[in-house]
């Protein structure tokens, strides 16, 4: 089940296709020419239309709107919208320890985020895999905002 409500200040067919692939139900309201923003709410995608922009902006400013503002950062929006509690697929994790695979020429500093592409990502019984934890909303926001700047 999707856990994070958020919105993005853009709307493209490619973005809607990605959300649909992720498992969201894209409402017909998102396909109209006046649909400018997209909102991800509990498994559904709805749009904010051009004529509603002022009201929506007021709600965001006053804090009445509980959705996380992703600006026009598509990667951040997709990462937040993908957050769910029933799978590890497409979820972000944070390395709790530094990884240095010398033979592979790979160095991953502590605190870096990685995306999991499998359904279940768990520690093996011998505890040989590096330590990590599921990224929180704030960690994801910080990561993508630092990537953008």
């Amino acid at each position: 089940m999707f856990t994070t409500k958020c919105f993005i200040r853009m709307n493209t067919p490619e973005l809607r296709a990605k959300l649909e692939k992720m498992g969201y139900q894209v409402c017909h309201c998102a396909e109209g020419a006046t649909a400018v923003f997209l909102m991800a709410v509990e498994g559904d995608i709805h749009a904010v239309h051009y004529e509603e922009l002022d009201i929506f902006a007021d709600e965001v400013k006053s804090g009445k709107c509980k959705l996380i503002d992703c600006g026009d950062n598509e990667l951040l929006f997709l990462a937040l919208a993908a957050m769910r509690d029933d799978t590890d697929k497409d979820q972000y994790f944070v390395h709790d320890e530094e990884i240095h695979w010398v033979n592979q020429g790979a160095y991953i500093p502590k605190g870096s985020l990685f995306k999991c592409l499998v359904d279940k990502y768990y520690l093996d019984p011998y505890n040989t895999t590096p330590k990590f934890h599921r990224a929180t909303v704030n960690e994801i926001i910080d990561y993508f905002q630092s990537q953008k700047s």
Binding site: F114, K115, L117, V118
Partner: protein, 132 residues
């Protein structure tokens, strides 16, 4: 060592059984169908060709590869005659591209592990449609 002896004994039993079976077949054919040796020769050729073909044909093996690329951890399964890190890297890139990720050819793929799996596990994973 014990496994080798067991395999050798099994091979001996199979070959002996085949020779006894064919000798018996040959005798029966000679009794009921005089001049039917060509049938036995035919059976010999067909069976021998099939056995040699089975022994010589490339063996299909199944691999499960766990990888790290572009801050993503995933798993991909593939079937082939052999495993190399270069081949696995190529398969990982293709798999990610199929899923819509833009991965350049020179992008470094770290292979965390590669395990040979059984065909039934491979088929099951493919049925589940997992990329892991």
């Amino acid at each position: 060592m014990r496994e080798k002896i067991e395999t050798l004994l099994k091979a001996f039993i199979v070959v002996s059984s085949a020779v006894v079976f064919l000798a018996l077949l040959s005798s029966v054919l000679k009794y009921f169908l005089p001049g039917g040796e060509w049938i036995v020769s035919g059976i010999f050729i067909i069976t021998g060709t099939w056995l040699v073909y089975r022994a010589m044909k490339p063996k299909r093996r199944y691999f499960s590869v766990c990888y790290y690329v572009n801050n993503m951890i995933g798993n991909v399964m593939f079937a082939g005659e052999h495993y190399t890190a270069v081949l696995a890297g190529k398969i990982v890139r293709e798999s990610l591209r199929d899923d819509g990720d833009d991965i350049p050819d020179d992008c470094h793929v770290t292979i965390i592990s590669c395990t040979e799996v059984m065909k039934k596990d491979f088929d099951h994973a493919k049925q589940q449609g997992s990329r892991a």
